[in-house]
């Protein structure tokens, strides 16, 4: 889905969503879990709260099996980053060939769709202020 970029960070996706690319997260700094706050009664009828899409979430990447381990495991990622975007990023970082497959798993149980946004996954499956994702060169959990 996302264009494969020449260098990090990745450039903005279509639709005007500004991105500044992934940044390594500080080891101990806990990013506050941003619970979705229902808009107040006075908010415009047609708009959803926009502040969610600007924030970044913490992602912890864990290697499975004999897949190479990333030197930096914790990353601060834009909520709107897709799984495909993350896959491309990891492949680049690990210097894998573009044609090599990389599978990403949530909760060590399911592989989300390539167009899934990490922000949504974090909302539903994040814990302790981060989203843990396992990555593997072969299918680990089907």
């Amino acid at each position: 889905m996302a264009e494969v970029e020449e260098q990090l960070p990745l450039s903005p996706q279509d639709g005007g969503r500004g991105e500044c690319g992934e940044e390594p997260s500080d080891g101990g700094a806990a990013v506050g879990v941003a619970e979705a706050v229902p808009p107040s009664a006075g908010s415009p009828v047609t708009e959803e709260p926009a502040e969610d899409t600007k924030k970044k979430i913490d992602v912890l990447l864990k290697a499975v099996g004999d897949t190479p381990i990333m030197k930096t495991k914790k990353w601060s990622v834009e909520r709107t980053r897709t799984i495909q975007g993350l896959v491309d990023f990891i492949k680049k970082f690990l210097k894998l060939v573009a044609s090599e497959q990389l599978f990403i798993y949530v909760n060590q149980s399911f592989a989300p769709s390539p167009d899934q946004e990490v922000g949504t996954l974090y909302e539903c499956f994040g814990s302790d202020g981060k989203l843990v994702l396992h990555y593997c060169k072969s299918q680990a959990w089907g």
């Binding site: 047609t46 149980s109 399911f110 769709s113 539903c124 089907g142």
Partner: protein
């Protein structure tokens, strides 16, 4: 009073009359006739359109045929969304049949995922089922099942049983509701386990749902939502919307601007989401809800 099981059947057997037309810029050796098909709401475009592909490939040269993709009024249709969702979202308030344009060239990389084989559809379907169970049961039920049970869920979606109405291109499903060993029974023999919950609870841990709207940039809204409130009351569809998308609810003295649609109908906002999840989810165990503009006429 409609039996709840009837709802399961109505959902399963829902069909959308569709007319497939080849995109005018595709190069053909002769005129391409449109192809009519009743699409199962619960299935996926690339799973049920082998005959459509064959029909149009007959009038094209082999070298002009690359991966098939579908479009409705300029919008590429995501094959990995269930057909019923695509229809509700894009065309539910337009006249039937649903007119879909077929393409074999210029695959829109930015809008669509590739679907190179049935295995890709199966993998996507099973991933959704697993994600739903992660929300409902912390994956306990799906993980306790054997591989053959997972396979049985997928096989239930296979549609190799169609009859062609003589003298037309129109096909109807051959597996009648009453016949034994049909796909519906096959599927629900396993799926019913995914719809169970511990007797001490009043429902699932969280409800697997996604809310879609064509007019926003967000692909869909999906959040954690419990079927039961802290006071023990069952949360309703209205409660869900209030929490995750209040803009969809008509204000007390306001004009109804939206339809909240699942499987072509607008469930009452008082409906418990637990009931909706058990009875009106798609086979992937998700409630796919469309918010569409209220028709003016």
């Amino acid at each position: 009073m409609t039996d709840d099981k009837d709802v399961l059947r109505d959902v399963w057997f829902g069909r959308i009359p569709t007319c497939f037309t080849l995109y005018q810029d595709e190069i053909t050796e002769r005129e391409a006739e449109p192809y009519y098909l009743l699409l199962p709401r619960i299935s996926y475009l690339t799973l049920v359109t082998d005959k459509v592909k064959k029909h149009f490939q007959k009038v094209m040269r082999q070298e002009d045929v690359t991966e098939i993709w579908f479009e409705y009024e300029g919008t590429p249709l995501k094959w990995h969304f269930p057909i019923g969702l695509l229809f509700d979202l894009h065309a539910s308030n337009t006249a039937l049949p649903w007119n879909i344009t077929v393409h074999f060239k210029n695959f829109p990389e930015k809008d669509l995922l590739h679907c190179t084989s049935k295995d890709v559809i199966e993998a996507h379907f099973m991933a959704c089922v697993k994600e739903a169970d992660a929300l409902k049961h912390k994956s306990q039920v799906i993980n306790e099942m054997q591989k053959k049970d997972h396979k049985q869920l997928w096989m239930g979606l296979q549609n190799d049983h169609y009859h062609l109405i003589p003298g037309s291109n129109l096909e109807i499903p051959a597996n009648l509701p009453a016949s034994p060993n049909n796909k519906f029974d096959q599927f629900w023999a396993i799926n019913r386990k995914l719809m169970e919950y511990p007797p001490e609870d009043s429902g699932f841990r969280y409800i697997p749902f996604r809310i879609y709207q064509v007019t926003t940039e967000r692909p869909f809204i999906q959040k954690l939502f419990r079927p039961v409130a802290t006071n023990g009351q069952l949360n309703t569809l209205g409660d869900l919307l209030k929490e995750v998308y209040p803009a969809a609810i008509t204000p007390e003295d306001g004009e109804k601007k939206n339809q909240v649609m699942v499987h072509g109908i607008e469930p009452m906002l008082e409906t418990p989401v637990q009931w909706l999840s058990e009875h009106m989810s798609y086979p992937d165990n998700f409630l796919h809800i469309s918010i569409i503009p209220q028709p003016t006429d």
